[in-house]
């Protein structure tokens, strides 16, 4: 049985860990002090790079690489902490804010020290009132203890943290939408490039980092790179010669919900399989797994054929899905995938910022098509083609071959792909919200097509048995060829 590996969440449930005194008893701020005492800023940046830390907010981009794009000669630079956690199925940042806010502050301090940043904005999802209250209180304490403000602990370092509540828009989690919103404008993502690392908040270089990503920093500094890289697999990227290491190091706060017996946040090493994860979460509630959403509602769905997929950045990308925010939703045999897609599409149609044409008008259109299918009004046409053969009367003649064409399914796929094409991974939108829409739409439809067809045929939702509802991998290009990445160590 796989065990949880609590690092970020180790002291989460210690009473009053949200206060400075208790946090201090559990090594609080010692990692930051160690950073100040033992390392130059560049050393820290190098350590983060070596640790292989990948952003936990969704894109899974190497944090070290992101830092290296920040021009060091432009002042001021900003750190923007993305605490807008609003991806459906994701709820791990929230616990950090509510229960252990000093950990985030320590992470922020280390990042600011490494990058020479003096101002940090924490953009907190508007609904997280408790989280914001706790963080604000912790920030106040940190100021009082001299960990924030001017000339921190007599090192000449200045760091100020400002918290900013969102107003309830999912798109303000997208880093440039967040920046616009932070600047007081409509939360609409910007065109990229320039990326925030070059032109972010107030058009100055800005590091945007998820809460969980920042919370990893104290442990990388405190325990060292080697300790950190031992957790999670490092794969070999064989596209280059010689192969380069592709680290999926560290732990991940997996938010497991849906049909499991003990839903919640589990901190586990990266690289566990779906099956293992379900086990950790108290096992499946129900008879069999029908589907798993591996990384928040934007991620393409996995079928019961893919339960051995390892839940890390690389493996999921190879499975044509993504780890995203680590929001894992398990569905058992009673769930109807069409209904499930409708739920998700309603969310996206509501949350599209409306800035660019394909997403503004395509997303509600996709929703409407799914709605029509759910309402039992999905369209199909039966066409009859002339075919030469033995007719009923035993003579040679036209036997009339019929074929059913599920127009609405083709339309659904086409409209979604016109927003963002999941096969070529090209999008005509400003931000990748577009792909977050078409990924679920197309993957659900391709992988569970029988259930969609049944809904149209029967004129109502029909929940098929798992085996019948799922299209096997061999027959469908929605699946990547089954491919387990090799670990770098195995290669050596």
């Amino acid at each position: 049985m796989v065990q949880e590996k609590r690092i970020l969440y180790e002291h989460l449930n210690v009473p009053n860990i949200n206060t400075y005194d208790v946090y201090r008893q559990y090594d609080g701020y010692t990692r930051f002090e160690k950073a100040l005492a033992e390392y130059q800023p560049d050393d820290i940046a190098q350590m983060v790079k070596d640790s292989g830390l990948k952003g936990r907010g969704g894109a899974g981009f190497s944090t070290g690489a992101k830092w290296s794009f920040v021009p060091k000669d432009i002042e001021p630079r900003y750190l923007c902490c993305n605490a807008d956690e609003s991806e459906p199925g994701t709820f791990s940042n929230r616990y950090v804010l509510e229960k252990n806010p000093h950990l985030l502050i320590e992470g922020i301090l280390i990042c600011c020290y490494a990058m020479g940043i003096e101002t940090t904005y924490v953009y907190i999802r508007g609904e997280f009132t408790l989280g914001k209250k706790m963080l604000d209180a912790a920030i106040k304490e940190a100021y009082e203890q001299g960990y924030l403000g001017e000339n921190i602990r007599d090192t000449g370092l200045n760091v100020n943290i400002y918290t900013h509540p969102g107003a309830g828009a999912y798109i303000c989690g997208e880093e440039t939408g967040l920046i616009e919103s932070l600047e007081g404008k409509r939360g609409q993502p910007r065109n990229k490039p320039p990326f925030p690392a070059v032109e972010g908040v107030f058009m100055k270089p800005t590091v945007v980092q998820n809460v969980e990503t920042l919370c990893n920093l104290p442990f990388i500094v405190g325990n060292g790179v080697e300790w950190y890289t031992e957790m999670g697999p490092t794969y070999a990227d064989t596209r280059s010669d010689p192969p380069t290491p592709d680290p999926n190091t560290g732990t991940k706060l997996y938010c497991i919900s849906g049909d499991v017996n003990e839903p919640g946040v589990y901190e586990l090493e990266l690289g566990l399989t779906c099956t293992e994860l379900i086990e950790v979460a108290g096992g499946l509630r129900g008879e069999e797994v029908k589907a798993v959403i591996p990384g928040g509602s934007s991620a393409p769905i996995l079928t019961h054929y893919e339960l051995d997929t390892r839940l890390d950045f690389t493996s999921l990308t190879l499975a044509k899905s993504m780890l995203g925010s680590g929001g894992i939703i398990v569905m058992n045999e009673t769930r109807n995938i069409v209904d499930c897609l409708l739920n998700i599409m309603k969310f996206y149609a509501h949350e599209s910022c409306g800035q660019c044409t394909p997403c503004r008008w395509g997303t509600p259109w996709v929703r409407d098509i799914v709605q029509r299918i759910v309402d039992g009004e999905g369209r199909k046409t039966t066409i009859t083609r002339p075919k030469f053969g033995v007719t009923e009367s035993g003579r040679w003649g036209d036997t009339g071959e019929t074929e059913e064409i599920y127009e609405d399914l083709d339309l659904l796929e086409d409209v979604a792909n016109n927003i963002a094409n999941v096969d070529t991974m090209t999008w005509n939108t400003i931000c990748v919200f577009g792909i977050a829409v078409s990924w679920p739409a197309v993957s659900y439809m391709r992988k569970f097509r029988p259930e969609f067809e049944a809904a149209i045929r029967e004129g109502k939702l029909v929940t098929l048995p798992v085996a019948e509802a799922t299209v096997p991998p061999e027959e469908n290009y929605a699946y990547q060829q089954r491919f387990i990445p090799k670990e770098f160590s195995e290669l050596e």
Partner: protein
């Protein structure tokens, strides 16, 4: 200069040009909605997608790029593609063509397609691009959004259903007028352009600034509509002529759109150094006096204190008679800052060569207010040709032109005054009124009955900027052409032609037959105007040294 390959053309373009403009310069259309050369570039309509080759001529970049935000620059030798191109662009690849079709399909999802009753039909980018780049049918069968029609301000209506949310109008109000009245409300497919309102929905600010009319021009579809033009005409029935706005001394380049029965609308025309893409609403909506039913159509003379209409011959002989009776010192001739250089030149020659008077004055619209916007200024001088009139009237007179108090002093002491006005709605102040009332014989050449014509002994019907050819000189020294659109009403005539007839009755030998001929004479005799012939001025104008 950057050397780029655009489809199969090899072209040179200035560094910093974007692909939409580069293509336009070479006759290739890259359809677009949100991009406007005078505004910032949000790249939100996604219509101008192009294929970009940055690394090799074999493989384009994975993502299509937006042509409006992709600017070309000369690259260092090692970064050139195939050793010579700075970038390779394709606007005709299959996936670009498909992307355009897809975007157009999305644009029409909620669009009402009420072209038959839409003012924009015929000059609508959505119609045109759909026709050239779109699908022939829609696959959308659901219910369309029907947001309410909105009255945004004094002249602008929003047919919200037709809006494609390109945000050009918002950006105009933010960047050019700086007034910021427009914004988006709601989100996603419910995005609507709106003005600020309170919770009850009552507007707290209207789209009421002097540049507001420009949003109608830049709206690529029929969403923003001018009330002034609403349902007046189909655009394809209108004739168009390039001209200059007569509203103030900025001299905005405009297109006058008209039919036989009058002017229908005035739209700005691009001029880089003068008005860029814009014009103000005073100029845009100020043309109505041209169509006014009260326009002076026949000469009039005063008979027993009543003005009665008369024949041209009668009016001219009456004038000749009166002028012959007085000394040249008793005559004051007043030109107009609303009249063209040509009008004023003939007047000047008449005064100088025939009447032999040095008492030449300048009349015009009263000083108004200046309005400054971040990217536009409306000047206080509400005449289009003050600078030109001053130079030309004074050109044979040691540059002395009577204006203001000195002018009215002279007028008060004169026996005959020949006043060319042409100013629409000119009020007179007390001093002016008093001076004019002292004149024995007042000849007024004007376009509309006014406080000035009320005092006249003879009224001669002249023409507006829309009814004649000629040139105006703006406050920054640009000489630009106005062109005749409609015929003048009744028997009204070009101002220079009237002056020429009076002059010839008094022994002058003027033989001008069209305005261009006068411009040649100006070029010969007026300092600085050497190049100001109609041919050389053309549509772009020339700037005086």
């Amino acid at each position: 200069m950057a050397f780029i390959k655009l489809n199969d053309l090899e072209i040179e373009v200035e560094d910093g040009t974007n692909i939409v403009e580069a293509a336009r310069q070479h006759g290739i259309e890259v359809p677009h909605y949100c991009y406007h050369p005078g505004l910032s570039r949000p790249a939100n309509c996604r219509m101008c997608l192009i294929d970009l080759y940055l690394r090799s001529s074999e493989m384009p970049e994975r993502q299509l790029a937006t042509g409006c935000t992709t600017t070309v620059r000369s690259a260092p030798p090692e970064r050139k593609i195939d050793g010579k191109y700075d970038v390779i662009v394709r606007t005709d690849s299959p996936r670009v063509i498909k992307a355009r079709e897809d975007i157009l399909e999305f644009l029409l999802v909620h669009h009402p397609l009420d072209c038959p009753v839409c003012d924009q039909a015929g000059e609508c980018d959505l119609q045109d691009f759909s026709y050239r780049h779109g699908h022939d049918k829609s696959r959308y069968v659901e219910v369309k959004n029907v947001p309410p029609k909105k009255d945004l301000g004094p002249d602008v209506l929003l047919y919200t259903t037709r809006c494609i949310v390109c945000t050009r109008c918002i950006r105009f109000c933010d960047e050019v007028s700086g007034t910021g009245e427009l914004g988006l409300i709601n989100r996603g497919s419910h995005d609507e352009i709106d003005i600020p309102r309170n919770h009850a929905g009552t507007p707290i600010q209207l789209l009421d600034n002097k540049l507001a009319g420009n949003v109608v021009d830049i709206c690529p579809v029929g969403a923003l509509i001018s009330k002034d033009f609403l349902f007046k005409s189909r655009p394809w029935f209108l004739k168009k002529e390039n001209s200059i706005c007569s509203g103030c001394s900025v001299g905005c380049n405009v297109t006058v759109e008209y039919k036989e029965d009058g002017l229908y609308r005035i739209k700005p025309r691009f001029h880089e150094d003068i008005n860029q893409h814009w014009m103000c609403d005073d100029g845009r909506l100020g043309y109505h006096y041209v169509n006014n039913d009260d326009r002076l159509q026949l000469p009039q003379k005063r008979v027993e204190d009543e003005l009665v209409t008369t024949q041209w011959a009668d009016a001219l002989s009456l004038i000749t008679e009166k002028i012959s009776e007085v000394e040249s010192n008793d005559i004051v001739v007043i030109g107009s800052a609303q009249a063209t250089n040509e009008d004023n030149f003939v007047l000047q020659q008449f005064a100088h060569d025939v009447l032999k008077t040095t008492q030449l004055g300048l009349f015009g619209q009263q000083l108004g207010e200046e309005h400054k916007f971040p990217q536009f200024t409306i000047e206080a001088d509400k005449n289009p040709n003050t600078a030109g009139a001053r130079t030309i009237l004074g050109s044979a007179n040691g540059n002395v032109v009577l204006e203001g108090e000195t002018l009215w002093e002279k007028v008060a002491g004169a026996k005959v005054v020949y006043l060319v006005s042409g100013v629409p709605e000119r009020a007179l102040d007390e001093a002016e009124k008093e001076a004019l009332s002292k004149v024995d014989f007042l000849i007024v050449q004007d376009i509309l009955p006014s406080a000035v014509t009320e005092m006249a002994d003879v009224i001669l019907p002249g023409t507006t900027f829309a009814e004649k050819d000629g040139t105006f000189t703006n406050s920054t020294g640009w000489v630009q052409r106005i062109r005749k659109t409609i015929d003048p009403p009744g028997e009204a005539q070009s101002d220079w032609l009237i002056t020429q007839q009076i002059a010839n009755q008094l022994g002058g030998e003027f033989e001008y037959s069209f305005a261009g001929e006068i411009a040649l004479a100006i070029a010969e005799s007026v300092e600085g105007y050497g190049d100001a012939t109609h041919q050389k001025i053309g549509d772009a104008g020339i700037k005086l040294a």
